[in-house]
Subunit: 102 residues, 2 copies
DNA sequence: AATCTATGCATAGAATTTCTTTGTATGGCA
DNA sequence: TGCCATACAAAGAAATTCTATGCATAGATT
């Protein structure tokens, strides 16, 4: 869904620190396979979020003993998440009012 | 809201044939001033929709005696609207599942 | 008569986001 | 040994949206 990728990533990271691949899996899982984040969207998005200091990352090893870059939500990221959730609700409500006026 | 402009336009036109300016006013009105469609977004969108034969247009005079291009939903446009509404609901539900898992 | 405001269409250019494609690399399993 | 799943990343294209600008006219105001 266009415009919601940052929100989805931030929300996923608010539950657990994860690497990129895991974030994509989580989003797919919790959305019941409806949302599938392509790698070409995911990694640039993570880089943008890190540039904005909403997440920070470091190389670690996965439980499967594979090297991966883990992303953690920053304090600013948490604030942004709250705002982004509110924005999303506000916009969805507005669109729904146009689709189904009272 | 990114990705929803075509949907909003098609829905608005499904209620009445309108000119561009009127479409923008209607969307603003029914969304309670939350959604404001800029002209630079609106007119290209209308041209795209006409290219895809989802709407058709002609010059007419408004009740205020001003020349304006009126857009009417085509049969294909009605079909697309139904599909777009379903897609929107499906995607919004999916995002909401990620935001607030059961 | 001149000016202002609202109406109305349109394009050019930029910015942003997303997707497609491609490349690299490795762990585990058959 | 070869394959599959995991994992990151960049390059380039495509699509959408916004900003800014321009043109034009009706009606109201001054």
């Amino acid at each position: 869904m266009p415009g919601t990728l940052d929100l989805l990533i931030l929300k996923t990271l608010s539950r657990q620190t994860l690497h990129g691949y895991g974030i994509a899996q989580q989003i797919k899982l919790t959305s019941n396979d409806v949302l599938e984040v392509e790698e070409g969207s995911l990694y640039p998005a993570l880089q943008r979020l890190e540039l904005k200091r909403l997440v920070q990352s470091e190389w670690r090893m996965t439980p499967q003993n594979r090297r991966a870059r883990f992303y953690e939500l920053s304090a600013a990221g948490r604030e942004r998440l709250v705002a982004a959730e509110a924005d999303f609700d506000r916009l969805v409500s507005a669109v729904q009012r146009v689709l189904r006026p009272a």
